[in-house]
C-alpha cells in the first residue's frame, strides 16, 4: 500500500510542478508589439454600451448584447464568439464598423503556442471599402491573469493589464485582404492590442485597438 501511495504522491507532485511551469512558461506569454504608425488605428470596447451585438455560448464572462440575442449553443458553433462593433479613431469619431467572429483554434497547445483563437474580421470603412482580416491571437496571458489567477486561484486582480495577443497567421501578424471599393485587391498586415482595466468575473471592461497597415498605402 505504501508503495502505491508513494507513486501517487510522486505523480501529484510531478503534475503540480508541471502545471506551475506551464503557468509561468515564457514561451506562451507574448508577441511582438504593434507597428509604430499604422495606416489605421481603430479602437473598440466590449462593454454593452460599446457593442451592437455580442453573443456566445454563455460560458464566456461577457454580457450578451442585446440581452435577448440568440446564443451560440448549437454543437457546430459552441465556443465561438460573434461581436458587431463600432470602430473609432483616436479622436473618438466613428471611423468604421466591424464584425468579429472568434473561433478557438485546434492549434492550441500550452508548451510553446498558448491558447490560440482565430479571429475573422469584416471591417467596413465608409467612403473606402471593406476589409477581411484573419488574426491568430494568443489569449493565454489574458486568460491566465483572469480566469486562472482571479477565478480559479482566488487571487486579487493585479491589473490594469495590457496585452498584444496577435501571433499570426504570418510573421507580420494578421493578414488583411481588401474586398471592395478603394481597398479591393489590397493586402496588408494587422495587429491587435487589448487592455483590461478591471476584472470582476466579466470581460466587459476589455478594450482593444486594431492597428492595420496596407501595402502601398
Amino acid at each position: 500500500m505504501k508503495y502505491v501511495l508513494a507513486l501517487i504522491l510522486g505523480l501529484i507532485a510531478g503534475a503540480a510542478v508541471a502545471i506551475a511551469a506551464l503557468y509561468f512558461n515564457p514561451l506562451t506569454q507574448g508577441s511582438a508589439e504593434p507597428a509604430g504608425s499604422p495606416d489605421w488605428s481603430l479602437q473598440f470596447g466590449l462593454a454593452p454600451a460599446a457593442t451592437w451585438i455580442a453573443t456566445h455560448d454563455e460560458k464566456l464572462g461577457l454580457p450578451a448584447v442585446p440581452a435577448d440575442v440568440p446564443l451560440l449553443w448549437e454543437n457546430g458553433i459552441k465556443g465561438s464568439l460573434l461581436t458587431a462593433l463600432p470602430l473609432h479613431d483616436a479622436s473618438g469619431r466613428l471611423a468604421a464598423f466591424g464584425t468579429r467572429i472568434t473561433v478557438p483554434s485546434a492549434a492550441t497547445e500550452f508548451l510553446h503556442s498558448g491558447l490560440l483563437v482565430d479571429d475573422y474580421w469584416l471591417i467596413s470603412i465608409p467612403g473606402q471599402g471593406t476589409l477581411f482580416m484573419h488574426a491568430v491571437n494568443n489569449q493565454w496571458p489574458l486568460v491566465r491573469d483572469t480566469l486562472v489567477r482571479v477565478d480559479l486561484l482566488r487571487r486579487d486582480w493585479h491589473g490594469p493589464g495590457s496585452y498584444a495577443p496577435t501571433v499570426g497567421p504570418g510573421a507580420d501578424g494578421a493578414s488583411i485582404t481588401g474586398l471592395s471599393g478603394n481597398l479591393a485587391g489590397r493586402t496588408g498586415h494587422g495587429r491587435e492590442r487589448s487592455a483590461l482595466d478591471n476584472y470582476t468575473g466579466s470581460f466587459a471592461a476589455l478594450s482593444g485597438e486594431l492597428n492595420l497597415d496596407l501595402e502601398g498605402h
Binding site: 508503495y3 508513494a6 507513486l7 501517487i8 504522491l9 510522486g10 505523480l11 501529484i12 507532485a13 510531478g14 503534475a15 503540480a16 510542478v17 508541471a18 502545471i19 506551464l22 451592437w52 453573443t55 442585446p66 440575442v69 440568440p70 451560440l72 448549437e74 454543437n75 457546430g76 458553433i77 465556443g79 465561438s80 460573434l82 458587431a84 466613428l94 471611423a95 464598423f97 464584425t99 467572429i101 473561433v103 478557438p104 483554434s105 485546434a106 492550441t108 497547445e109 500550452f110 508548451l111 491558447l115 482565430d118 475573422y120 469584416l122 467596413s124 465608409p126 471599402g129 471593406t130 477581411f132 484573419h134 493578414s175 485582404t177 474586398l179 471592395s180 471599393g181 478603394n182 479591393a184
Partner: protein
C-alpha cells in the same frame, strides 16, 4: 519507496506536459458536406438561413457623415438543417455610386470564406421586396424568390477553403414579412467552388 516517488514525479511531470501539448483542446464537430458536381465544373454546396429564427440580433444601420452602411448576422445551416457556422453581411455604399455587399462565412470545423459583390446604385433587397407589393405583416402564397445582384466572388479563404475560388449567390425565398418588416422565409446561399490550380 524513494525510487517509486521519483518515478511518480517524473511520470506526473512528463504526463502533464504531454497532455498540455497533445490534448485536443478545441474540436468542433464536422458535419458531412452535401456537395454536388456542377456540369460546367466546380462543386456546388448550399447553406441555409431560416428567418427569422437564425437572425442574430437586429440588422444595424450605420451612418457616418454622408455615408451609411449596414450589418446583418446569421447562424448558418447545412441543407440537412444542422447549424454549422456563422455568417455576417455588410452593405456599404461606394464612391462610384454602387454598393458593395460583403459576406463572411465561418464554419468553425472547416474555415472561413470572405466574399464581395457589387450592386447597381439603388438596387437593394428592401427595394426588390417593395416592388413585389408585399407589405409588413403580410404573407405571400406562393413565396417570393429573389436572387440579389450578380454572384459574389471569394476574395480570401482559410482552412479547407483556402486555394479554392468560390462564387456565391444569395437567394431570398420570402414567405412573408413580420409586423416589424423582418423577413420570414429562407435565405439560401449557393456556393460553387473551383480549385485554384
Amino acid at each position: 519507496m524513494k525510487r517509486l516517488l521519483q518515478l511518480g514525479f517524473i511520470l506526473g511531470f512528463l504526463g502533464t506536459l504531454a497532455g498540455a501539448y497533445f490534448a485536443p483542446w478545441f474540436e468542433f464537430p464536422r458535419f458531412r458536406s452535401a456537395t454536388t458536381v456542377v456540369p460546367n465544373g466546380g462543386r456546388l454546396e448550399q447553406f441555409e438561413v431560416r428567418l427569422p429564427a437564425d437572425r442574430i440580433g437586429a440588422g444595424v444601420a450605420v451612418t457616418s457623415g454622408p455615408e451609411s452602411g449596414s450589418l446583418e448576422h446569421f447562424k448558418l445551416r447545412d441543407v440537412e438543417g444542422n447549424v454549422i457556422g456563422l455568417a455576417a453581411r455588410h452593405r456599404l455604399p461606394l464612391a462610384d455610386g454602387t454598393a458593395a455587399t460583403s459576406w463572411l462565412l465561418t464554419i468553425p470545423s472547416r474555415g472561413t470564406i470572405a466574399f464581395t459583390a457589387s450592386l447597381p446604385a439603388g438596387e437593394s433587397l428592401e427595394g426588390r421586396i417593395a416592388a413585389t407589393g408585399l407589405v409588413a405583416g403580410a404573407s405571400s402564397e406562393p413565396g417570393i424568390s429573389i436572387d440579389l445582384g450578380s454572384p459574389a466572388s471569394s476574395v480570401a479563404a482559410t482552412g479547407e477553403f483556402a486555394k479554392i475560388d468560390f462564387e456565391l449567390v444569395e437567394t431570398w425565398m420570402i414567405a412573408g414579412l413580420e409586423a416589424d418588416g423582418a423577413i420570414r422565409g429562407t435565405l439560401r446561399l449557393s456556393t460553387v467552388g473551383t480549385a485554384d490550380i
